[in-house]
């Protein structure tokens, strides 16, 4: 699978590379210049060699004084690209590397700034860290809400994206004021929100982290923008886009690898999306698919250079509360994840599927969810709202939800010390059973490899092993943006990231 990812590139990986070299902005129809430039290069010489050589060759030949002008001229059809050879190629490659390494160094600087700010303001006093969502659609509404949430006790602010952004094959530009059930992820929105939270961090004496989504068709670009603008966590799942958004599997794995290399470099904690498996399937029957997904996410993350402390592997409290012993089963599953990944800041996600609109019952359910989080030492706790599935959280909903969290953490936060379920009890027995089923499923995937030579995982995804969705590698959105690399393919960004160098 990793080899498959290494053998291909995508339009979004190439656009991310140009963004590292400092190309931003869009035309009057809000089509980003990176899209224009990659499209024109592709038209003239194809994508398989990467855009770095043709673009910096054109700059060297004097077609334009800088990247933005080049993109503007190219959009108008005034530039023809060629694939340089010999000395020209070497020189273009060198120039590209110089330009792109500046972006990589900005990411390094932002990481150092984060470390400095954490040293100055401090991390949250308690574990798990409290994660709250903001989603108004308007960045200028989001900012005061996020600041208020931080003052009320949130350690991490997540700005939900507008519905449908994951299927846009471009990243919108500028500060945005309208979105559907969320706010667009743009470089300017990232910058505005991070600056606001820096202010609040100073005021509170606690570094407030910012989260967004590196998923969908523009995953590599959004990861890059997150690194450049010092976001602290990114939702970034290895298979979510394939299964739940019908994005082409190869496109996803290629984009994934690049985005995770960026996250590794930027010191960003990734959050994976295992909760989604439990909302589409039964949380008891499908418990082992969560474990399998966590193991896959861990593998792909480490391969891309992420360290254990950066793995916010996901899981969720989604068992039907009418199932007998549902709380004990939740404890078993949560403890299994905790034990399997002792050094990862696991992300524990609240009930959504069984939140019925009965807010009173929902409040109790959230209390039990918090209790599992406290008892099993989770790293990141996404605060559950009793008004889940009713309204976007009101000010008072958030206050009540945070009271719930604080009460449980204050009252039972130390229970991790005392909570050691006996080996033959239901909790340990259940955890062993889920682990066994997970191993069996992994074995099944390995055995199921097809003769076509496709990696076993690709075959499993095509067969509908995950989330009951069949996603063959020849279908799905974004396939036309994938190219198999030709000999001589050059991308200084992946080189710099893989080598760990900054020049």
């Amino acid at each position: 699978m990793v080899n498959l990812a290494k053998r291909h590139t995508t339009v979004s990986v190439e656009r991310a590379t140009l963004r590292l070299a400092g190309l931003s902005g869009a035309d009057h129809e809000r089509v980003p210049w990176v899209n224009h430039l990659v499209d024109r290069v592709r038209q003239d010489v194809g994508l398989e060699h990467g855009v770095a050589l043709p673009v910096w060759d054109a700059l060297r030949r004097g077609d334009a004084p800088d990247l933005t002008t080049l993109a503007q001229k190219a959009a108008g059809g005034a530039v023809t690209f060629r694939l340089p050879e010999g000395k020209d190629s070497t020189a273009a490659g060198k120039a590209a590397r110089t330009a792109i390494s500046r972006g990589v160094r900005t990411i390094d600087k932002q990481r150092a700034t984060r470390d400095k700010l954490i040293a100055r303001h401090g991390d949250p006093k308690q574990k798990p860290w409290i994660y709250l969502i903001v989603a108004t659609g308007d960045i200028y509404e989001d900012i005061p809400q996020a600041q208020a949430a931080a003052r009320e006790g949130a350690d991490i602010i997540a700005v939900i994206r507008s519905t449908g952004q994951s299927l846009l094959d471009f990243v919108p530009e500028g500060a945005t004021r309208e979105g559907y059930a969320g706010t667009y992820a743009t470089q300017e929105n990232f910058r505005l929100m991070r600056a606001a939270l820096d202010e609040t961090s100073k005021e509170l004496g606690r570094y407030v982290r910012l989260t967004n989504y590196a998923s969908g068709l523009c995953m590599p670009e959004i990861a890059t923008l997150a690194g450049l603008e010092r976001l602290d966590m990114m939702l970034n799942d290895s298979m979510y886009g394939i299964l739940f958004r019908d994005i082409n599997p190869i496109r996803t794995f290629v984009d994934q690898r690049f985005s995770r290399q960026i996250h590794a470099r930027a010191g960003i904690i990734i959050n994976t999306g295992e909760d989604n498996y439990l909302t589409t399937a039964d949380a008891v029957e499908a418990a082992h698919t969560v474990t399998v997904s966590q193991l896959l996410n861990e593998y792909f993350a480490k391969e891309a250079g992420l360290a254990d402390w950066q793995l916010g592997l996901g899981h969720a409290f989604e068992i039907d509360p009418t199932v007998p012993d549902s709380f004990r089963l939740e404890l078993a599953h949560a403890l299994l994840a905790r034990t399997l990944f002792p050094d990862a800041p696991l992300k524990w996600m609240p009930p959504t599927k069984h939140m019925t609109g009965d807010i009173f019952r929902g409040y109790l359910l959230d209390g039990f969810f918090n209790l599992v989080g406290a008892m099993t030492g989770q790293g990141i706790l996404l605060v559950g709202m009793m008004t889940e599935a009713v309204v976007t959280p009101w000010l008072s909903d958030r206050d009540l939800a945070l009271q719930n969290v604080r009460y449980v953490l204050d009252a039972a936060g130390g229970l991790t010390e005392d909570f050691h379920p006996p080996r033959e009890g239901l909790i340990q027995t259940r955890a062993r059973q889920v682990l066994r089923e997970a191993i069996d499923l992994l074995q099944e995937i390995v055995d199921d490899a097809e003769e076509t030579g496709d990696p076993a995982l690709l075959a499993a995804i095509a067969d509908g092993t995950f989330g009951a969705m069949k996603r063959p590698p020849t279908k799905g959105k974004g396939l036309d943006g994938v190219a198999r690399k030709a000999p001589g393919y050059l991308n200084p960004a992946t080189d710099l990231l893989s080598e760990g160098s900054d020049r």
Partner: protein, 286 residues
């Protein structure tokens, strides 16, 4: 037949009752409402018939002080709560206070005036929908979806079709017995018609968000006309449009089978498809 005379105790209790006129009583006198007959006039029920008790909670954008509490009670009174009891007030942000108020409402509800708009089909669970298709259609139900014309807003069609779904409900892709083809944004009408033909679509779902210069109306009528031209009568797939600005009663005018408005969930669309295809087929060959 006259009811037995009341005891002294009953009379005393009777006098202490509030809202005597509206209360149903076990020992009703003529003219009073009896517990034994269904009264069309009802009040909320706390712990006694007719007490009218409700609870509300709300936030006012004022700092918590005596004035804020007075303001909360004023709001409760204006909402028809009398008497209202402020049971909880708490500052939840520098200039916001959260309140919980209990009290009796003075309003009566007349059951005779309640109008119920019946949906003409039942909303089924995903499991029941799948089972019905399997049992009755005996093949997959083929759905083709798209945003047509210049409309690039796939939010609506994606919410209905993608497995991710909407409002906690999974999209039609999640239904095992449906074969879903989402053609995406800005699909030209001829392309949609061809796709529907090639895929032998049972239903075509079109999302229209952009309403500038009535684009949604023009696109929809053009689409339905194209389908009626390309398919023999009785073989046209079910044509369904969705969008926030359609009038729900205008399906016939636009030449489509059904219109869905804002807030429609995938489950409702799935249930409608089953209803239209299976429970009331319109002469289509399976």
């Amino acid at each position: 037949m006259n009811p037995p005379p009341r005891t002294e105790a009953q009379e005393t209790r009777n006098k202490s009752r509030q809202h005597v006129g509206q209360r149903r009583m076990e020992d009703a006198l003529p003219g009073e409402l009896s517990l034994h007959e269904e009264s069309p006039l009802v009040r909320p029920y706390g712990d006694t018939t007719g007490d009218g008790m409700v609870q509300i909670s709300f936030t006012l954008p004022v700092p918590h002080d005596k004035r804020a509490e007075g303001a909360a009670l004023q709001l409760a009174a204006k909402m028809g709560m009398s008497p209202a009891i402020l049971v909880h007030a708490k500052s939840i942000a520098p200039s916001f206070t959260f309140f919980v108020v209990y009290g009796a409402v003075t309003h009566l509800v007349d059951l005779r005036e309640v109008e119920v708009v019946e949906r003409d089909f039942d909303v089924l669970s995903a499991r029941d929908t799948n089972a019905l298709i399997r049992k009755r259609l005996r093949r997959k139900l083929v759905v083709v979806g798209a945003c047509i014309g210049t409309d690039a807003h796939t939010v609506g069609i994606d919410a209905i079709l993608n497995i991710k779904g909407f409002a906690g409900e999974k999209g039609l892709e999640y239904y095992r017995e449906m074969a879903v083809h989402n053609l995406g944004a800005q699909v030209p009408i001829p392309e949609l018609v061809n796709a529907a033909h090639d895929l032998r679509a049972d239903a075509v779902l079109v999302s229209q968000v952009v309403t500038q210069k009535d684009a949604h109306i023009h696109n929809t009528t053009a689409m339905s006309a194209a389908f009626r031209e390309a398919f023999p009568a009785g073989k046209v797939p079910l044509l369904i449009v969705g969008g926030p600005r359609f009038e729900e009663g205008s399906a016939k005018e636009l030449g489509v089978d059904r219109i869905f408005g804002r807030g429609t969930t995938p489950g409702e669309v799935a249930s409608y498809l089953v209803h239209a295809m299976i429970e009331r087929p319109k002469g289509k060959s399976a």
